[in-house]
Symmetry: C2
Subunit: 217 residues, 2 copies
Amino acid sequence: MDAREVLYTTRAMRRVKSDPIPMDIQERIMDAAVRAPSGGNAQNWRFMLVDDPAVIAQIGPIYRAAMTLLWGSVYAERVAAAEADPESPDSKAFLRVQKSAQWLADNFEKVPLYLFGFTQNDTSGSSIYPALWSAQLAARVEGIGASLTQVLAFQHDDVLNILGIPTDEGWYMAGCVSLGYPTGKWGVASRQQAHEVSFRNQWGSPLGFETPEPLWP
Amino acid sequence: MDAREVLYTTRAMRRVKSDPIPMDIQERIMDAAVRAPSGGNAQNWRFMLVDDPAVIAQIGPIYRAAMTLLWGSVYAERVAAAEADPESPDSKAFLRVQKSAQWLADNFEKVPLYLFGFTQNDTSGSSIYPALWSAQLAARVEGIGASLTQVLAFQHDDVLNILGIPTDEGWYMAGCVSLGYPTGKWGVASRQQAHEVSFRNQWGSPLGFETPEPLWP
């Protein structure tokens, strides 16, 4: 698959079928993920694939509780704004994300595979998120939808206990990627265009080009 | 270009030529970068392309000073280990990274373009590093080498001052990507293979497959 197509159409794809992901596809996803760079090439990372329904069943309720917390805290303002004016473009965009995220909460146990990423003593995240994003891009190549969630961080210790993470060695959970065959279609995500969020040489100075529409397809 | 080739051959490519990067290529890189996902699709990010030699000349000395600090602090143990036993595989790998990173320090002003990424009130990095990594992958498609550095974080405030970042609004610098036409060749980076750094369902449990060599090419 063309690299630009992959970069443009890999988006949070939470609604997936329960069909299992074949082992050779999992292997290709993981093999691509570990090519990502990390600070000093230290590769202070660990990954965990979780497909055991018994393990997923333990995490599901934690995820749902964390999600409820999230709407009531980090996203409380946006939830209130969306409820106050549900027809505004911002509200519509937020409600779309909320609905999709809530789908994952409600159907956590139906997702066939989760990929957890752990990093050791890395507080910036710069040495683990490129690998997790590569995993999602590699999944896209295979027709697998993926979505990174950090919601479980709200109940970090509970999850680490279930997965047996040696926190005394400095490992922590950077995120969890849900994986599965999508129920919906691939498409280019709507975003603010580069020139709307970028500058050149100085904060506030124009970028030097304007791109009214995505350059792909 | 094939997506898997891009995922496998995009590695820290610090040694680059001074040739400028055409504007249409910069545009394609940035247009791809902003397709990356962010938490709640909030896109709380800003980007800055820096190609003004006067700005780069201000940052160069800061980068060099930060690099010296880095070798003496974060990497002090690895530097000492490499000096004590320079022929071990670990030492050789580290010395290779060190030499490459030092090249960038010594030649900071020769690099034609830098991409800075900023994020607002996001401490995990999960909403900015996917975009910066997408920028590097999109650069690879164009034959442009890239490398993420966070070394400037050591002198965070000085750099933010030079670039005019409104830190009172909660913006901080997540990283800086150097960009340029490489002097060397593209290749698959040597990494620990997935099964050496991954588990299934429980920390310490085998992943379920072993991949002795990279699956690409």
